[in-house]
Symmetry: C2
Subunit: 235 residues, 2 copies
DNA sequence: CGTGTGATTGACGCCTGTCAACGTCTGTGG
DNA sequence: CCACAGACGTTGACAGGCGTCAATCACACG
């Protein structure tokens, strides 16, 4: 068998154990290793665009990708972030539709690209793998339904508080207690579904209420229970 | 083999051809026929409640079910309607989570109930079937993402117009040109994500603008292009 | 015919989006 | 090393969309 041309060894990948790839056999993993291509993307590059057909899916080794849709007036809505261990693009391949989001790198990213044909083959040949993907899709569907309810019923203030908590959970804090992920005010607005100015004003309020500290783009949560209360969530 | 105790014969079911069940073998279909139970539910009954574990999924023969989530202040958000040929409840089984919605009958419904164990067995033994379910979940996920963007970016007026169009597409019109599905103003509000009074006022506006005619709960669309324009959608 | 549920209308005001102006920061090129 | 351009952040003013409350009407059902 030809040796892979890439530097990333999926067999040694730290994310393998927790990912859907843990359900592959050794020979299937070898096939992945052989067919995949490993790439590095700098910030601000695009992986794919909404409305286009994609011919493979991506497994993120490191970095952060934002997935967003562009609304009718050209305003973006961020659907989710993908980071280490996440796979993206599979939805479009499996539902045989064009990509429903645009994928843009917001922190330098290393990832593996795996052709659609191999995804389909694995789904068809390995029950466990197929079950895991199914589970993943159903999980995301549940999350999406929750988000719909939130965005339809909560105020902007509640949603912003909730988003900060979610970002903390997904990306954790750095040594200084700041959110690891760095977003522009505009990007925050595109998650919450509001205007940039509203985010700025509300963050200032949160700061005045001693819920957060702000230093440039860095956001430090100093009163998590307060934020949770404000977000009006039971979790 | 024991003969099924139910009156509904899935082998003769008119929805079989277009549904995921068309991918089952004859013997698998027999198994479904044997394990399923066929039931009839009057309006206002519940199939299952948000947050509970469910032990099977449902295939709708006729009638309409609404799937909704209840928000923090007790306000409902309708996620989708299920009618003839649709299957519901599979998400929760496959993602091994409690139901993320409540399912309530809004028009007398006849359906088949199939145990979770059989769903899992079929998913694991029949590649085509598993692929179809996967496709379905991915499709729904794409729809949910679209809905998120709409609800986050569009005005209530645009969303209401869009909802009317969607209801027309999904349930078609009766002989008089009215939407086949009958909803309370409150239910309409729970789809759009707004207050009942807002729906009432906007419907009156639509009527004044000769876009719709209203007669009690009956809604007749008399200017579809106008509605589409108002909804601000490209479709 | 009474009762209750849903529909409607009006009043009111706050939340939030928009527009505009200005401050801040970063990186690039001279 | 400095100046400048451009992107991003901030603040204020303003209006209007939309949610809430309350009162009344319409209708169906026992």
């Amino acid at each position: 068998m030809k040796s892979p041309k890439q530097d990333h060894d999926c067999n040694a990948c730290v994310h393998k154990l927790n990912s859907i790839f843990s359900h592959l056999t050794d020979s299937e993993l070898e096939e992945v290793e052989y067919e995949k291509s490993c790439n590095f993307f700098k910030k601000d590059n695009y992986l794919y665009h909404e409305g286009t057909r994609i011919n493979g899916f991506y497994c993120i080794n490191s970095g952060i990708i934002k997935l967003f849709k562009t609304g009718v007036v050209g305003k973006d809505q961020i659907i989710k972030f993908a980071s280490k261990g996440d796979i993206i693009g599979y939805r479009s391949i499996l539902s045989q539709e064009p990509a429903c989001t645009t994928a843009k790198v917001i922190e330098d990213t290393s990832l593996c690209y795996i052709p659609a044909s191999l995804l389909l083959k694995l789904v068809n040949s390995n029950q466990n793998f197929s079950m895991e993907i199914l589970k993943l899709a159903c999980k995301e569907l549940g999350d999406a339904n929750n988000f719909i309810t939130d965005i339809a019923q909560k105020t902007v203030r509640e949603r912003l508080a909730e988003v900060l908590i979610i970002l903390k959970d997904q990306f954790d804090l750095d040594k200084d207690g700041n959110l690891q992920i760095t977003l522009t005010r505009n990007e925050l607005a595109s998650i919450v579904g509001t205007a940039t100015e509203s985010v700025i004003r509300l963050l200032s309020e949160f700061k005045a209420d001693k819920l957060v500290e702000l230093k440039g783009k860095k956001i430090k949560i100093i009163n998590l229970p307060g934020l949770i209360k404000l977000s009006n969530t039971f979790n």
